[in-house]
Subunit: 200 residues, 2 copies
């Protein structure tokens, strides 16, 4: 009795099902889709997987993802290398760059400290940041982890470790988002916005 | 200014985004997941894509998917080759086989006629079914397309084409599903169940 699809199709379905957020039914649908591709398209997909894995690695300085020896930002002499913005994820670098204002460099932690998820200080790239700062030449470190419990705790933890190094440590301003409506702002955000008010 | 991830990662994200039902954010998450795989795991995933595409094809007799010359069911001499069950998709063959009762063979249409989706009679494997029946030796054809508008229309269309060939054409019985509750059955299903009632 036939209870399964051909073995190569089942294997591909299993591979898709291993991806995060992809259930069995979706995995099957994706595997069927691959069968409908041309040979070149399927080969291109397979090649993209292998090449992404082979060519993308972390920058030895800032830990951001790159396919070059040094990432484009660390390699840019026009940027201010004495100013380091610490973010949790590579996508946060892209968000910051979109603001078109920041001209310092970055440090990507690749996560935040999260006891609930068994992520401790040694599981993210804090050690690399400390050794980078201890080499000197750093004027200010901007903590730009997410403004949530884990992001705040991680920023506090790192700033405490940096204290003996006599470097200025700052945190992104809390406040009401530009373009948002006050009536929909939560109390904590409004409180922080009040505390951080400035003269105009 | 850095606005994108490294090129190989962007390319992989684009490949994932081309899959049906996978949006931009999900594609990015999947691409990042690939970076977290071991080299062997990434290579295995890529290989599964290429092999599924290379090794899986349709059975020349019943059009079901197989990685052998003839599919396991068409190649099984203990099955009744004079009885053909016509289904829309390969997954329907597996559903029928799970019932452990049917011992005939299959014909997979790979779709149903659907003018709204621009699928006409020539886009599904009707021609292959007609040529198979015209070769003789077929006693009965069971139409087992889905009991919905398009499935019914496709079954009607095919049965009309088969009429001159003097072969018995039947349709799966409509009725209330086993284990279901009458109060939740829709009127059309109940009507069909009444029409199809049998003496006990």
């Amino acid at each position: 009795m036939l209870r399964y699809f051909p073995a190569p199709l089942e294997r591909l379905t299993e591979e898709f099902a291993r991806l995060p957020g992809i259930g069995g039914k979706t995995a099957q649908r994706l595997a069927f889709h691959v069968l409908s591709l041309s040979d070149e398209e399927a080969a291109g997909f397979a090649r993209a997987i292998v090449e992404a894995k082979q060519e993308v690695h972390t920058c030895p300085v800032c830990q951001n993802l790159t396919d070059r020896e040094l990432c484009a930002i660390c390699d840019d002499s026009r940027r201010d290398h004495s100013l380091i913005c610490v973010v949790a994820e590579p996508r946060d670098v892209i968000a910051m760059e979109r603001a078109r204002e920041y001209d310092g460099v970055y440090h990507v932690l690749h996560g935040v400290i999260s006891p609930l998820n068994h992520v401790g200080p040694d599981d993210i790239r804090i050690r690399e940041l400390l050794s980078r700062v201890s080499q000197g030449g750093v004027r200010e470190i901007i903590m730009a982890t997410n403004p949530d419990t884990e992001g705040d705790a991680t920023a506090m933890y790192i700033s405490r470790l940096l204290r003996p190094m006599e470097v200025k440590v700052t945190r992104l301003a809390y406040g009401v988002p530009v373009g948002s409506q006050l009536e929909y702002s939560d109390e904590v955000t409004l409180l922080r916005a009040l505390e951080g008010r400035r003269e105009i």
